[in-house]
């Protein structure tokens, strides 16, 4: 269960203060697929950063498995990002000079998984997301956008996280590929029992979600 209470994030801009996230309360049950929709600048990405502990909130709490992430300090934060959460980005953010396989193995290396185990797991995940073995050694530049996003999904699942945060996962894909990716995410969420929070402005994706949150000017509308 993911539970967010009165979460706020403010930025200083000259003399004024911008409230990017303004007192958000939400809860997502374990294994559910939730969508956060809103226009550009509504605070979606900032909210995702806070949920993934990439940034610190001004105030409020984020509870995952009854632990408040906002109270975590350095090493615990790193450990949270390593084991509890996985990221999927609009522009994939794969490491360009590593192969698809090496990209998926990377989070496991940081988590201390031995070389053989991480190779096996990475190969399995790539197969699961539909990347055939002949493409495992290809670098991202030699994969299509859809394939790169599949590799990114495999990477996000590498350390069996409880929460996957997806920032516009289909934003750079055509609608047909986008649907395939979302279906893939939903099915993986079920098999891996992972909670997924996806930020999108695609209403089609929102319809597939178990729960949808509308964000405007840093506040939830419903």
């Amino acid at each position: 269960m993911l539970k967010v209470s009165d979460l706020k994030k403010e930025f200083k801009s000259g003399d004024s203060t911008v409230k990017a996230v303004d007192g958000i309360n939400l809860s997502v049950p374990s294994g559910a697929f939730s969508a956060i929709i809103g226009k550009s600048g509504s605070g979606k990405s900032t909210l995702l950063s806070l949920l993934g502990a990439l940034d610190k909130p001004t105030s409020g709490t984020i509870e995952i498995e009854n632990e408040d992430v906002t109270k975590f300090r350095d090493n615990k934060l790193i450990d949270y990002r390593r084991r509890k959460v996985g990221f999927i980005f609009q522009n994939y953010n794969l490491i360009p000079n590593l192969s698809a396989l090496e990209n998926v193995m990377l989070p496991m290396e940081f988590a201390g998984v031995n070389s053989e185990d991480r190779r096996k797991r990475a190969e399995l995940l790539l197969e699961e997301v539909g990347i055939s073995s002949d493409k495992h050694k290809r670098k991202p530049a030699r994969l299509s956008g859809g394939e790169q996003q599949r590799v990114a999904i495999a990477r996000s699942l590498a350390n069996r996280p409880k929460l996957i945060l997806a920032d516009e996962p289909t934003g750079n894909l055509d609608s047909k590929t986008g649907k395939i990716i979302i279906n893939l995410l939903c099915s993986l969420a079920k098999t891996e029992k992972t909670t997924i929070v996806a930020v999108t402005h695609d209403q089609g994706i929102a319809k597939l979600a178990d729960k949808t949150f509308h964000l405007k000017d840093g506040k939830l509308l419903s």
Binding site: I78, D79, R81, G86, L106, D167
Partner: protein, 442 residues
Amino acid sequence: MGMIGRGVKNAFRNVIRTVSIVFILAISIALVLIMFLSLKAVQAKIDSVKGSMGNTVTVSPAGVRGFEGGGELLTTSSLNTISALSHVAKASGTLTDRLTPGQNTSLTASLEPGSFGRRQQSSQTEGRMPNNLSMPITVTSTNDLTNTQALNINELKVTSGASFDGKTSNNIALIGADLANKNNLKVGSVFKAYNTDITVAGIFDSGNRFTNSSLLMPIKAVQKLSGQTDQVSNINVQVDSVDNISSVQTEIKGKLGDKADVVSSIDTVKEAVKPLENIKTISIYSLLGSLVAGSVIIFLTMLMIVRERRREIGVLKAIGASNVNVTAQFVVESLTLTIMSSVLGIIGGFAFSNPVLKALVSNSISTASNGQGPRPGGGGFMSRLSGAMPGVQNTLRDIQAVIGYEVILYGILAALIIAVIGSAIPAYFIAKIRPAEIMRTD
């Protein structure tokens, strides 16, 4: 692929940039090595020149040279004063005199006058040449027979009999081999000098015909017999270290004032090694400059790479990399660049150290010889030096950088220093990059 593999692989992400950086850095490392080798070679040469000149200070009466000039001789008390000075290892006094065959000695000179001797005699007697011209016999007396430098001979080999104690006042002598032959003298033979019986204590061979035709006697005996009580014609001072020569020289001048000429080899040595000292200074500055340049090159490169890969660093942090993980990867990348540069730099250092050193030495010595223009008395410093110390100029030119295995170690050490300095500040910037950087839209 682990962190090391990624770091190494990253070093080749942009081949043109990598080649350029490696090339420039290799030049910098080669310069570090060349300057380091030059520094070592020059220091060794300076030490060798200083060592070969000895730690000697010579004190002679002002205005006196050999048997010419005018003034007052030194005294035994001057010798005692100098002996008591700090840093003086040994002070040997000598008193030189001449015996004239047929007048104050029974000996016959073993040296033939020849045309040189006749010309000298002629100038001294205003052209009136004696019928049976004979060379005088030189008597060198000393308080220390072990100090051959004070006796102006390279080696004193006693071929029969025994050496004498320089402190004695007995009427004994070591007689040169040629003089002994000429006069049929053996150990224990007695001859007349200063109207006194002198016993032959031993016969020596110095390998030099002039000294083999002379006598060596205890200084006290000659002072007494020649009527030069307490007088000393030369004092040879051995200083404990080259570094103390100047201070001892100054102290002696202070004690004896203007009645003595105090000369040491240090002034000549100092001037002789001046070009090398200049090269040493150039080498030190170039060494530090090259090291700094190398560090700056790798620092700027790494800084540029870190700035370029801000988003990638954000990704690594977002998927669980710690600052240490990311920094280590960049340090490996930096080390890869510097190690490749070191290999090239070491090869360059090997190839160019001697040519560069020779060019520096040659240029520096030529500048010293010619650059200061003519001096009163004629000649630049090298010409004076060549006159004063024949062969020193060639000795200075004969300098060689010794390339050993330790050079490779120094090369690697230089690379490590460069890599560590070059990575330290980028590492700080890496730590400052927030994982949220990844959410930034370009």
